[in-house]
Assembly symmetry: C2
Homo-oligomer: 256 residues x 2
DNA sequence: AGGCGCTTGTGAAGACGTGCACAAATCGCG
DNA sequence: CGCGATTTGTGCACGTCTTCACAAGCGCCT
């Protein structure tokens, strides 16, 4: 059976797309695999083993195989995975075959940077609108887009099919903006404001808080310091750090 | 036993700091609790119940209680938690009692925004140096700090006790910068570049990839679309989304 | 054609994280 | 002083995620 069947691949619209309900942890890793695969493709590789890909993505190879097995069987035993095919598959599953329109609300410090970030465009997204509540910012042109007032959201939504809203406003404004996004039909929100958003069921919110990331690192710093600072208390000073140190989300990595 | 003992609180240096080795998932939530607590303190609350705090932080109340119980017993049954005391405790555990110096490498689009982000300063960090490899950027002043060349890192490290390095360079430069940071003794790195870093054991790396967050949201969009688009295939159309939809890291929330 | 080395896909076990439900503890009030 | 209302802290069961280890499958070489 060398006939690779994409279960609902872009071209051939089968009866049921049959998106297998992937474990959330797997979904979170797929983009990482995708990035690594693009690198490999650019480097001219046509196939890659789970060992090779997992190294490039910074994960355990067994984990990678299990993740990919959830998408279906796209590897060849004894050979590895077809890079191009796997890219196509992952992009399909992630819904990246269509370029999704993103509305970015809040054109302050961070919003400016996001508006100019080319990583969005190069990885399947298109910033469709820039919005802000501050009238003095409305009209400003950033990266070829004119900032519109946030109250124009209904108009924007009528022009474009907005898939995702990005909130880069101060915390105080975030909830109101979220409500406005939800009101025009946005069902996925990426929130950079340091606050909790209430949204109706069916709306997904992901949060990115830069300060929180630093605070987590700070904890580990504190811990490392409290360990190495031990002069002679009980256990012997450990030159190598104790096991179980590798964090869930943290690479701890092998040099070489 | 109403005598609250901080197990290694700032002032009283006990024999052993005894940082309880917290579950990583707990550590990741503590900053969120801390933020919620600061809000409560500003609003004049002196105590808060686990129910109230968990709502403000967007988590389950049982989870919150279990998380806090790992720090020790700082609540009072029938009353709740002392807001000020809990803030002090969490800040101690996270190592925020000392203001940590952060070196930011890469003053491009994103780096600029990070340099101007006041969320760092207000939550326990101090940007101690801005660095870039591009000579044309060296000398530029941002937010009162002059950009220095990345090769000056050893000098910077000699002046300041750098705790954390932030990499906001293009992916191609990230590994080299990481090596330089490690070389001057930095043991915690926050990486915004879309690539995997190799670092020696004992160095913690956390990664933030903005495009990945969008891609995860894209998956959920795709999935929601493939569900609602089902015309009449097998099962009946679900008006309410199926269970198991709430993601690990995603709030799905109640809009009252 | 057959065997050998390599790689995938997966069963099973263990570690980890979550959430319920309840006993223990504390406060306030009569 | 005792009782009831309230809230913490936690034992337990369940689900998810990770990791090992290995059988099954594939291609290549002889």
């Amino acid at each position: 059976m060398s006939q690779h069947r994409h279960p609902g691949a872009p071209g051939r619209a089968g009866a049921v797309p049959a998106l297998p309900d992937l474990p959330e942890a797997t979904v979170a890793r797929l983009p990482e695999y995708l990035r690594a695969l693009h690198n490999l493709a650019d480097a001219g590789h046509e196939t890659v083993s789970s060992e090779g890909l997992s190294a490039a993505a910074g994960v355990n190879s067994a984990k990678l195989r299990k993740d990919l097995s959830h998408l279906g069987s796209y590897g060849t035993r004894g050979v590895g995975y077809d890079v191009a095919l796997l890219i196509e598959q992952i992009e399909y599953v992630l819904g990246l075959t269509q370029r999704r329109a993103v509305a970015l609300v809040g054109v302050g410090n961070l919003g400016h940077a996001l508006a100019g970030y080319d990583g969005f465009a190069s990885r399947g997204f298109r910033i469709a609108a820039l919005l802000d509540a501050d009238p003095s910012r409305v009209g400003e042109e950033i990266n070829g887009l004119v900032v519109r007032h946030v109250d124009d959201l209904p108009t924007v939504a009528a022009e474009e099919s907005l898939a995702i809203g990005v909130i880069a406003t101060p915390a105080a404004a975030a909830q109101q903006v979220a409500d406005q996004l939800v009101a025009v039909g946005v069902t996925s929100i990426l929130n950079f404001a340091p606050c909790v958003l209430s949204v109706p069921e069916g709306v997904d919110v992901r949060k990115v808080d830069l300060a929180i990331e630093l605070q987590i690192l700070s904890f580990h710093e504190h811990r490392k310091a409290s360990l190495t600072a031990l002069p002679a208390t009980g256990g012997s000073a450990l030159t190598a750090l104790p096991g179980g140190f590798a964090a869930t989300d943290t690479q701890e990595a092998i040099g070489t």
